[in-house]
């Protein structure tokens, strides 16, 4: 009979999965570049940190437009995507719609922004469409799941007018979870709207990157602090009383949305994205050569690096979660530690990974390190918060050990480990989407090759790479579901925020 560590190693499914993913991350680590390439990272870090004490409040008014545009774009995007998401949720059972939406969802909003930039140019319309498309697809999925959970009305009493019964029975019953999910998404919309600045839309990210490039670190801090204050105070300024006002104000403030150019759209679909060998009527040999070069120089390294970064970041996220959650649980920490840890977690949770990665990149120079660090801090904060909450709800035996380490290792971790893994695998697909996009900062993941393809105006390559990114995302989503099924976790995670 196997006992102790042998039992755990060979029998426990949780251990097998953990071991396998750690091994994968280790191998990925060996193949990736985690070097610090900036000459004096500590000096830069110091400069950045001390700039916090040099904040100049008088520059605040000049930064207001950045915040206002970020909010207005997020509000309009939230409104339209929740509306479309609700309608699409009605048809979500249809397999074609479901597949189509998972494809739309798998492409990050920054990539959508890059596509629409080519068609409609740098304007509000591009920003809105870039957010509305993936957000509608996410809303459709989650609204559908929430509505499914709230199917309480007796089938025998249901009549023929399906739409009326839907609005009288399912919708009112599911209304509060629908609303709270929509409000939660507003926080995400703010984050996404902010990072659209990195492709040129004049939201927070735009100001942030220009302040950074000029080494105005105090301005960077001011922008970040304003953003955190904005997110922390959402409930105060975004509610049922203020919504209509903010909604109409957003229309008024954004003013010029740009125009919908159909000729550009037609050109984009019928010329720009048609693969070069077809467009130029190349011979089969020349076409194959074009594809071979594209495949070996861009597709393979892009996919490979994206997967490497994803796997390392996934395990780092898990490690951070397990290390940090005791600091926010009252079972392990006193009120002061908990308060401080909560603030740190909220800051990292509210910071979009893209902005974190951008900051670290300036400090450490381009390598996988800043990207993995950003992914770990953002996702680890979200998961540590969730697992910490679960730890608080645990009931220990009356005679439990007074040693915190024993309490952690014997009483807490074994009971939370399954749900920890489910949450982690739920974030896997999100981490992959982010790993791809972080390439736009200069790492050789898929985003890098997509960005370069756009810079060279090779939109055909951009399209192929985007489709591959979406495909990889869908594959990871499916593997993650299979792993969860293999682990047979009793808590089915549908939403993780």
């Amino acid at each position: 009979m196997m006992t102790g560590i042998l039992y755990i190693m060979f029998v426990s499914k949780n251990f097998k999965v953990t071991f396998f993913f750690c091994l994968l991350a280790f191998i990925s680590f060996l193949f990736s570049d985690f070097s610090i390439s900036s000459l004096e990272p500590m000096l830069e870090l110091k400069k950045f940190f001390f700039a916090l004490f040099e904040i100049n409040i008088s520059t605040l008014p000049s930064l207001f437009p950045a915040i206002l545009r970020t909010v207005c774009i997020a509000v309009l995007a939230l409104f339209f995507s929740s509306f479309f998401g609700f309608i699409l949720a009605l048809f979500y059972e249809n397999v074609f719609i479901r597949t189509f939406l998972s494809f739309i969802r798998a492409i990050h909003e920054l990539f959508w922004a890059l596509i629409f930039l080519q068609i409609f140019g740098l304007n509000v319309l591009t920003a809105l469409l870039a957010l509305i498309l993936p957000f509608s697809a996410i809303f459709a999925k989650v609204y559908f799941e929430i509505l499914e959970e709230h199917d309480v009305f007796d089938k025998q009493l249901r009549g023929k007018n399906i739409l009326s019964y839907y609005f009288y029975s399912k919708v009112p019953d599911a209304f509060s979870p629908l609303l709270s999910y929509t409000l939660y998404r507003f926080e995400c919309a703010l984050r996404s709207s902010a990072i659209l600045g990195f492709v040129g839309i004049t939201t927070l990210g735009y100001y942030l990157s220009s302040s950074f490039n000029q080494a105005y670190y105090n301005e960077v801090w001011l922008l970040l602090l304003m953003f955190y204050a904005l997110i922390a105070s959402i409930k105060l300024w975004f509610n049922k009383y203020s919504f209509l006002f903010i909604f109409f104000f957003s229309f008024y403030y954004l003013g010029d949305f740009g125009s919908l150019s159909f000729s550009n759209l037609i050109r984009f679909i019928s010329v720009d994205i048609i693969p070069y060998p077809i467009k130029a009527s190349l011979s089969f040999e020349d076409g194959s050569l074009w594809f071979y070069r594209f495949f070996s120089n861009e597709i393979v390294p892009g996919l490979f690096n994206t997967i490497l970064l994803t796997q390392v970041a996934l395990v780092l996220t898990g490690a951070m979660t397990l290390l940090v959650f005791p600091f926010i649980s009252y079972k392990f920490s006193n009120i002061y530690v908990r308060f401080l840890s909560h603030i740190v977690l909220i800051v990292f949770r509210s910071s979009p990974e893209y902005i974190l990665a951008y900051l670290f990149l300036q400090i450490f120079g381009p390598s996988f390190l800043p990207a993995a660090l950003a992914l770990m801090l953002h996702n680890g904060s979200i998961l540590a918060f969730l697992i910490g909450k679960q730890a608080n709800a645990l009931e220990y035996r009356l005679d439990f050990s007074s040693s915190k380490i024993s309490l952690y290792a014997y009483e807490t971790l074994p009971r939370l480990y399954s749900s920890f893994l489910s949450f982690l695998f739920y974030r896997w697909e999100i981490i992959m989407r982010e790993s791809a996009i972080l390439g736009m900062l200069g790492l050789a993941t898929l985003g890098f090759f997509i960005d370069s393809a756009i810079a060279d105006f090779r939109l055909d390559k951009m399209m192929i790479l985007l489709i591959l990114t979406a495909f990889l995302n869908i594959v990871i989503d499916n593997i993650s579901k299979r792993v969860s099924r293999y682990l047979k976790s009793d808590t089915e995670i549908k939403r993780c925020y």
């Binding site: 025998q156 009493l157 007018n161 009326s164």
Partner: protein
């Protein structure tokens, strides 16, 4: 004749819940189904519902009320099929006066008039049961199938509701666990045990033994 079942079986999730049921129910009859929980009476009721869907008003045991909606909207729901989707949607947000007045009259009869725009979740068990009863009545068909419709009501209201059933519907079929209500108000009682009919008699023909058996199957 309202229903005719001949040697019928009824399974639920691969388990046989009703066995060799032979039952004739005439129009205008008042029929009480008695039995312990799990005896098959709710299944029999559902089976009857399937046979005459369009002519039947149905009150399920779990009431199937929408907790987040008002009493008014829950009652109005039984007429959703009589109106267009647009009419129903407008009525969800801005109730039409005509509908409100009609529902107010119904509520008055069961002492619920002041609750018309209250959320169902705020009501007591008995009040919820009355709302479910009125929802059926708002679109009353010729036949009523009701699963334990008066279980949460006091004697006064229970009698009032049962009498109202007999005035509103031609044929009334109720599952009950109260044997005295069944004998006092209904024409015929059916006793079920383990999915089989063990008593099927007019109330006037029940012997003392039968009554004892009924009390026994309901305990």
């Amino acid at each position: 004749m309202a229903f005719l079942l001949e040697d019928e079986n009824f399974s639920y999730s691969n388990t046989l819940v009703l066995k060799n049921i032979n039952l004739k129910i005439n129009k205008g009859e008042k029929l009480a189904l008695l039995g312990k929980s799990g005896s098959g009476k709710s299944s029999l009721l559902k089976h009857l519902f399937e046979k005459q869907k369009n002519n039947v008003s149905y009150i399920p045991q779990d009431l199937s009320l929408i907790n987040k909606l008002s009493v008014f909207h829950n009652i109005f729901m039984s007429r959703l099929d009589n109106h267009s989707s647009i009419y129903n949607l407008i009525n969800l947000f801005f109730p039409f006066k005509k509908e409100v007045n009609e529902i107010k009259i119904l509520l008055k009869a069961l002492d619920l008039e002041d609750k018309i725009f209250e959320n169902v979740s705020t009501l007591s068990g008995g009040q919820k049961q009355r709302v479910a009863i009125l929802r059926a009545k708002f679109n009353a068909k010729r036949i009523l199938l009701a699963d334990e419709p008066v279980s949460s009501l006091d004697e006064y209201l229970a009698k009032k509701v049962l009498e109202d059933f007999f005035n509103t519907y031609d044929t009334v079929i109720c599952t009950l666990h109260n044997v005295s209500y069944a004998i006092e108000y209904f024409d015929r009682v059916i006793g079920l045990k383990d999915g089989e009919i063990i008593i099927n008699k007019a109330c006037s023909e029940l012997s003392n033994d039968d009554r004892n058996t009924l009390y026994y199957v309901c305990e």
